[in-house]
C-alpha cells in the first residue's frame, strides 16, 4: 500500500498566541460572545430575557425603593403610597423579633443575641478549637444566656419559657437541635454500621421510621404523647421537649449522611488500627470518625441549614419563633395589609443565616482541602 504524500501547507500564526496563563482574565468581548451571544438564537434569547429581567428589576426598585415608605408610625401614610411599606418592619420589629417576651425586658434578648453570636463566631474559628478555650467559653455563654433569658436573679424579673419568642427562640431551637442532634446522629450512624446485628437492627428501625414521617407528627409526639411516657409527677419543659424532638428528627437524617462517610473509609484503615491493637472506640474516635465527618461535610452542612429552616415548624404547636411572632403581628388590622413586606423581612433573616452557614461550610471545605484542619 502506498500513501499519498501529505502536502504541508505552512501557515504563519496571524495572531501571536499568548503563553497560557491560568490567572489571565478573559477579554470582555470574548466572554460576552461565548456566554451570551453565541449564535443569533442565543442573542435573541439573551435580549428577550434581559428585557424581561430589567422590567422586573425596575418594578422591584420602583416598588421597593423609589415609592416605598421607610419610616412612619401612621399606617395611612403607607396606604397612600404606591410602593412598599417597610415602615411596618420598623414599627413592628420588636414583637416580630422578640415575640411575647415582656416588652421592657427586650434589652436582655439583645444582649443574649450578642453573646450568642459572639460565642458561635468564636467557636467556628479553627484557631479557637481547643477544649481549654471552648469549654469555658460555652459554659460562660450558656450560663449568661440562661440568666438573661430566665432572669429571677440579680433583680431581673423571671420570664418563663412560655413567654420566650422571636429570633432568640429560633436561635436557641437551632443551636439545641445541632448540639443534641449531632452526637445522636453519630451514635445512630455507628449503630447502623456496628458489628452487632441487634445494634444494626435497632438503628435501622429507628432511623427509617423517623425519616418516614413528617416533622409535624414528631412535634405532636413531643407535645402530646411524651408527657404520657413519664411517670406521674415528672414533667419536662415543653420547649426542651420540642427541641429534643426536632433534634432527633435531624439526627436521623444526619445519621444517614454520616453513614455515607463511614462507608467511604477503606477497610485498610480499620485493619491498620487493629494491627496497632486500638480498641473499637479508639479506632472509631481517632481514625474513622475524623475522616468520615470530613468526607460527609458538605451533606452535613446541608442538613444543618435544613435544621435551621425546620425550626419554623414550631408555629404548628404555638411556640413564638420569629415566623409565628410575625404571623401574629400581621393580625393587627391597621398593618396587616403590609404582610408582604413583613414576610420578606423574615425570609431575608433566614436567607442571611442560611447564606452565612453555607459560606462558612465552603470555607471549612477549603481548610480541609488545604490540610489546615
Amino acid at each position: 500500500m502506498t500513501l499519498a504524500p501529505i502536502e504541508v501547507v505552512r501557515r504563519e500564526a496571524v495572531v501571536p498566541v499568548p503563553a497560557y496563563d491560568p490567572d489571565a482574565r478573559t477579554p470582555v468581548g470574548v466572554w460576552l460572545k461565548a456566554n451570551l451571544f453565541r449564535s443569533v438564537g442565543q442573542s435573541l434569547l439573551t435580549l428577550a430575557v434581559a428585557a424581561v429581567l430589567l422590567r422586573i428589576l425596575w418594578f422591584v426598585l420602583d416598588w421597593g425603593v423609589f415609592n416605598a415608605v421607610f419610616y412612619t408610625t401612621d399606617p395611612d401614610v403607607c396606604r397612600a403610597a404606591t410602593g412598599a411599606c417597610w415602615a411596618v418592619v420598623v414599627e413592628k420589629h420588636r414583637p416580630m423579633l422578640f415575640g411575647l417576651y415582656p416588652y421592657d425586658e427586650h434589652w436582655r434578648l439583645v444582649l443574649m443575641m450578642a453573646i450568642y453570636l459572639a460565642t458561635v463566631v468564636l467557636s467556628l474559628w479553627p484557631r479557637c478549637w481547643n477544649l481549654r478555650f471552648l469549654v469555658p467559653l460555652w459554659t460562660g455563654a450558656v450560663l449568661s444566656i440562661g440568666i438573661l433569658m430566665f432572669g429571677g436573679v440579680f433583680g431581673l424579673p423571671y420570664v418563663p419559657t412560655s413567654e420566650w419568642g422571636g429570633l432568640p427562640l429560633t436561635m436557641l431551637l437551632f443551636t439545641g437541635t445541632v448540639l443534641i442532634g449531632m452526637p445522636v446522629a453519630v451514635l445512630l450512624a455507628l449503630g447502623r454500621r456496628a458489628p452487632l446485628p441487634v445494634a444494626r437492627g435497632v438503628s435501622v428501625v429507628f432511623i427509617e421510621s423517623l425519616r418516614g414521617v413528617p416533622l409535624i407528627t414528631i412535634l405532636f409526639v413531643a407535645v402530646n404523647v411524651f408527657p404520657l411516657f413519664l411517670p406521674a409527677g415528672v414533667e419536662v419543659n415543653k420547649l426542651l421537649r420540642i427541641t429534643v424532638g426536632i433534634a432527633i428528627f435531624f439526627a436521623c437524617y444526619q445519621a444517614e449522611v454520616i453513614r455515607g462517610g463511614l462507608q467511604a473509609i477503606p477497610r485498610g484503615q480499620y485493619e491498620a488500627a487493629t494491627s496497632l491493637s486500638l480498641t473499637y472506640w479508639q479506632t472509631t474516635r481517632r481514625i474513622i470518625l475524623p475522616q468520615a465527618l470530613r468526607i460527609s461535610l458538605p451533606a452535613i452542612t446541608n442538613h444543618i441549614i435544613a435544621a435551621m429552616k425546620n425550626t419554623s415548624f414550631v408555629i404548628i404547636i404555638g411556640l413564638f419563633d420569629i415566623l409565628t411572632a410575625t404571623t401574629a403581628v400581621m393580625q393587627d388590622p391597621l398593618w396587616r395589609r403590609f404582610y408582604i413586606e413583613a414576610y420578606l423581612f423574615v425570609a431575608a433573616v433566614y436567607l442571611f443565616f442560611g447564606y452565612a452557614l453555607s459560606r462558612y461550610a465552603r470555607q471549612v471545605e477549603k481548610w480541609i482541602a488545604s490540610g489546615r484542619i
Binding site: 477503606p266 485498610g268 484503615q269 485493619e271 491498620a272 488500627a273 487493629t274 494491627s275 496497632l276 491493637s277 486500638l278 479508639q282 481517632r286 481514625i287 475524623p290 475522616q291 470530613r294 490540610g371
Partner: protein, 255 residues
C-alpha cells in the same frame, strides 16, 4: 550480605501453625497449613496470586479468623479469647501493601497514636520513640507532613516505623513493595534488610526473589491454599523439589 552467619535463629518457636484451614463461604482458602517460625527467623512466603499468602499471615494477628487448626504465638493460643488476641496483636507489627497510613494525621501523629493509646506512653516519650524510628527509616525531616504529601516509598517506610513504634517482636509484611514504583522498591527493601539484621522475627510475603535469597532463612511456597514447599533459600532456589515450585520460579525469574 552475610547476616545469617551472625544471627542464628534461636530455635524457640514464636509462631506455630498446625493444620490451619480457612474458608470464605464455600471456598477453602487455606488447606491444613503447618508453619513454624523461630525467634529471629526470617520467612519469605511466595506463590501465585490468590494462593492464600495474605490470608495466611493475616490469620496470625487475627485480621482473619481461621476456622480449624491451631495458631500459637509466644505460647499463647489464638482463639476466641480477647485477652490473648490483644496480647498477641501487641507483639505483632503489620505492614500492608498499600501502607494504610492514617491520612488525617501527620506522620508523627501516625507514629505516636499506637504507643499513646495502647501502651499508655506520655506524649513526649512517644514522640521521642517516634523520632527514633523515623531516624531508623531515614525520614526524620518528614515528621510534620501528612502521609499523602510523601512518595510511596516514604509512606511505606513511615508505615514500617509506625509498626516498630509498638516495639513488636514479630513483623508481618504483606507485599510491602508491590504498590511501589521500581525506583522506590530499593529504599523499602533496604529498610527491611536493616530490620532483619537487627534480629527481628519477620514473615514477608513478597515476589522480590533477590530479597528472599539474601535475607530469608526459609522460603515457603504456597499454591491453592496449600503450603507446597518450605526450604532454606539455597535449596529452594537451587534445587526445588516440587514441580509447581519449579514452574513458578521459572516464570518469575524469567523476567
Amino acid at each position: 550480605m552475610t547476616h545469617s552467619a551472625q544471627i542464628e535463629p534461636t530455635g524457640a518457636p514464636v509462631i506455630q501453625m498446625r493444620d490451619v484451614s480457612k474458608w470464605f463461604g464455600q471456598f477453602q482458602v487455606l488447606h491444613e497449613v503447618d508453619l513454624d517460625v523461630g525467634k529471629g527467623e526470617r520467612v519469605v512466603v511466595c506463590g501465585p496470586s490468590g494462593s492464600g499468602k495474605s490470608t495466611l499471615i493475616r490469620c496470625i494477628n487475627r485480621l482473619e479468623v481461621h476456622q480449624s487448626g491451631q495458631i500459637v504465638v509466644n505460647g499463647l493460643e489464638l482463639s476466641d479469647n480477647v485477652k490473648n488476641i490483644e496480647k498477641i496483636r501487641r507483639n505483632i507489627g503489620m505492614v500492608f501493601q498499600n501502607f494504610n497510613l492514617f491520612p488525617h494525621l501527620t506522620v508523627l501523629e501516625n507514629l505516636t497514636l499506637g504507643p499513646m493509646l495502647t501502651r499508655h506512653m506520655k506524649k513526649a516519650a512517644a514522640e521521642e520513640l517516634a523520632m527514633h524510628f523515623l531516624h531508623k527509616v531515614r525520614i526524620p525531616e518528614q515528621a510534620q507532613k501528612y502521609p499523602l504529601q510523601l512518595s510511596g516509598g516514604q509512606q511505606q517506610r513511615v508505615a514500617i516505623a509506625r509498626s516498630l513504634c509498638m516495639e513488636p517482636e514479630i513483623m508481618l509484611f504483606d507485599e510491602p513493595t508491590s504498590a511501589l514504583d521500581p525506583e522506590m522498591i530499593k529504599e523499602v527493601l533496604d529498610t527491611m534488610i536493616e530490620l532483619a539484621e537487627s534480629g527481628m522475627t519477620m514473615i514477608v510475603v513478597t515476589h522480590e526473589m533477590g530479597f528472599a535469597r539474601t535475607v530469608a532463612d526459609k522460603v515457603v511456597f504456597m499454591a491453592d491454599g496449600r503450603k507446597v514447599e518450605a526450604a532454606p533459600p539455597e535449596e529452594f532456589f537451587g534445587n526445588p523439589r516440587e514441580h509447581r515450585t519449579r514452574a513458578f520460579l521459572d516464570q518469575i525469574l524469567k523476567h
